[in-house]
């Protein structure tokens, strides 16, 4: 087993699934790149951040399709192809671009199975980058998973590490429902041990990344790393945190969260999506509804403010949730004097 980056883990998942199943195809803008260019080189880019590099070389024109900048039509084409025998993985580049093609996802792909009385399957994966921390500004930094989580019929996956990314992407490709697979753009160079073999991580099974008795922290995507860092720091001060990575916001593993809160009696949810109607709201509601009498303190949400993502470095830092903010939220509900916080 070798150390692999988040980028390599995703590339390897795509490659292994494409080798295994000839129906798996890729499409997206510049996922090979160089087509129609004067140098006559294809695979010049492998996607804007190089994630699909080398796949055109192995699988060729029929299976790695560069698209015009026409999200509505190629995302829709991927949905249509999925409903008729292929297993497309379409790359939307930045998830912010979903504005250009939401109908094809929301009203088309997401609806087929149920609306057609269970007679359609739509094995479609849409990959996209999300998240702030890169000074990519308001139109390239959003964490839009709540939008997809809201739509029945879609599965929504947010890997928190290279190992998770590979296993969850393989599961996404083998799954028969439309899956939105969101990659945090700040994490592409993160490395960890990732098996060379193919493996699939089932959806709807949360991962517990830290164990502690005092507080349950539920964190999404890149926030899992921040929550782990906060938990490690708090442990030195005698505060034990259980950190839960739901892995998929749809379906959501309610049991793991509820079980943990019933043991700790305290909940902090960390979510980098805009604060209204985000996963932090959703998970807080779940716990308030089903584990209310276990709670020893108010639920805390560590979320950004309700503003677009600012460009300027200090403002973006202020905007983003981080380990310090998480630790502060935990302390605010564990130190006994502060139990009555408003």
């Amino acid at each position: 087993m070798a150390k692999k980056s988040f980028r390599q883990a995703i590339n390897e998942a795509l490659r292994q699934e494409m080798r295994r199943d000839p129906r798996v195809i890729l499409m997206g803008e510049d996922i090979a790149g160089g087509r129609g260019g004067s140098a006559g080189i294809t695979d010049a880019w492998g996607g804007v951040l190089g994630v699909t590099k080398g796949l055109w070389e192995e699988f060729g024109d029929d299976r790695v399709l560069d698209t015009p900048i026409s999200e509505a039509s190629y995302i829709g084409a991927a949905a249509g192809a999925a409903a008729t025998g292929l297993r497309p993985v379409a790359e939307l580049m930045f998830v912010d671009f979903v504005g250009c093609c939401l109908d094809q996802i929301m009203n088309q792909a997401a609806k087929f199975r149920y609306m057609f009385g269970g007679k359609a399957t739509t094995p479609l994966v849409i990959r996209a980058m999300y998240g702030g921390g890169f000074s990519a500004a308001a139109q390239h930094s959003q964490a839009l998973y709540p939008l997809f989580t809201h739509i029945p019929g879609l599965k929504v996956v947010i890997p928190s590490s290279p190992y998770e990314a590979k296993g969850l992407l393989i599961e996404a490709i083998r799954d028969n429902d439309p899956v939105i697979f969101l990659e945090n753009k700040v994490m592409y160079d993160d490395e960890e041990d990732v098996p060379d073999e193919a493996y699939a991580i089932p959806f709807g099974e949360a991962n517990v990344t830290r164990e502690g008795d005092d507080v349950t922290i539920v964190a999404i995507g890149r926030m899992v790393n921040m929550a782990n860092a906060a938990a490690d720091e708090l442990e030195k001060q005698g505060i034990g945190c259980t950190v839960i990575d739901p892995r998929t916001t749809s379906p959501l593993d309610e049991e793991t969260i509820l079980e943990s809160v019933s043991e700790t009696g305290r909940l902090v949810v960390v979510d980098e999506a805009s604060p209204r109607c985000n996963m932090a709201c959703d998970i807080s509601a779940l716990v308030a509804e089903k584990a209310f009498f276990s709670l020893k303190a108010p639920i805390r949400r560590v979320v950004p403010p309700h503003t677009p993502v600012p460009f300027s470095t200090p403002l973006e830092k202020l905007y983003m949730p981080d380990a310090t903010k998480i630790a502060a939220a935990v302390r605010s509900i564990t130190s006994s004097q502060k139990q009555k916080v408003a």
Binding site: D30, G34, C100, F134, A138, S312
Partner: protein, 323 residues
């Protein structure tokens, strides 16, 4: 072709083009130091397009730009110091550091914003044109968009809408042959001329390395729209001199392609040559502009680097919410 343009306008145009060139080349160097956050897309090589079109516009007219927006901003009169400060994320930036390179806007100059979304501008321009038409202010609205953006549904729908509503809209297709790393030869089916015809838009075309040609062609196109005859398409042939964004090694382009463009299709060189040959402007005036622009950009960078950062309280400014 005789030139129908005042000396002052010519000087302004030269200054604009020179400013764009120096501004972008400086950013190329500064970005590499790691001090500039985010994405930066440079407009070098395409200066005559923005300037040739905008020389026919006033602050009363509206433009919508693209991710490659610095040139359009400068051509439309946005202040260079404020732009540079914005790109550095400072509080003194035209958007107070909240937008950055891809979102520079100045509505007081009729500049509706650079845009991070490809194809984001053309629909907005239909709306701006509707305002001009409804308010009868004699303004036109101009959408700059790339060959890549020409394949977005929003762009094609907008040409149709503008035609249906008979709007004073100008669709300026800046065709540099590439959308990121993909050639227009692969990505654009049919011809742009036929696309315009399909929506009933008169089609104007010109080479983008010659300010005079762009200026004249744009004038005809814009006059058409302004005079109430409906929307038009202006197709400008261009070449970009740097990567799609800073960091792109451009392996998809033939070796020497950019060098040849720089040698034979430099709009500034061409402008100077013609201005001198036809005695339109004295060389000395242009030399003075060169020196002044160099100073202006230098001071913009120095000032931007020393400018204050936004304060914590600015995070919650310009939103309605307190949470």
């Amino acid at each position: 072709m005789s030139v129908q343009i005042s000396r002052e306008a010519l000087l302004r145009a030269y200054r604009s083009m020179r400013t764009i060139r120096v501004f972008e080349e400086r950013l190329h160097v500064e970005f590499a130091t790691g001090e500039i956050p985010g994405f930066v897309h440079l407009y070098c090589g395409e200066e005559a397009s923005a300037v040739g079109v905008c020389a026919n516009l006033t602050d009363n007219d509206t433009i919508a730009s693209t991710h490659r927006g610095h040139g359009h901003c400068i051509a439309k009169g946005v202040e260079v110091g404020g732009m540079m400060a914005e790109i550095y994320g400072r509080h003194t930036g035209v958007c107070r550091g909240k937008g950055g390179s891809m979102h520079i806007a100045d509505l007081s100059k009729g500049m509706l914003g650079a845009n991070g979304i490809v194809g984001g501008g053309p629909p907005l321009i239909c709306g701006a044109a509707l305002s001009h038409k409804t308010l009868k202010d004699n303004g036109v609205a101009v959408a700059f968009f790339g060959d890549g953006a020409s394949n977005e549904g929003t762009t094609l729908e907008s040409m149709n809408l503008a035609s249906v509503w008979h709007l004073p809209a100008v669709f300026v297709l800046e065709d540099n042959g590439y959308g990121e790393a993909t050639g227009a030869a692969y990505a654009c089916a049919g011809t742009q001329k036929d696309r315009a015809a399909g929506f009933g838009l008169p089609y104007f075309a010109c080479a983008g390395d010659d300010f005079f040609e762009v200026y004249e062609t744009a004038r005809n196109a814009i006059d058409h729209a302004r005079s109430g005859k409906g929307p038009v398409m202006l197709h400008v042939q261009l070449s970009r001199w740097y990567g799609h964004f800073e960091g792109d090694a451009m392996t998809y382009r033939k070796a020497g392609e950019v060098a040849a463009q720089k040698k034979d299709h430099d709009c500034l060189k061409k402008f100077r040559a013609r201005a001198v040959a036809e005695n339109l402007l004295p060389e000395g005036d242009m030399d003075e502009i060169d020196a002044a622009v160099a100073d202006e950009v230098e001071s913009a960078v120095v000032t931007a680097k020393q400018a204050p950062w936004p304060q914590d309280k600015d995070l919650m400014a310009d939103v309605y919410a307190r949470y």
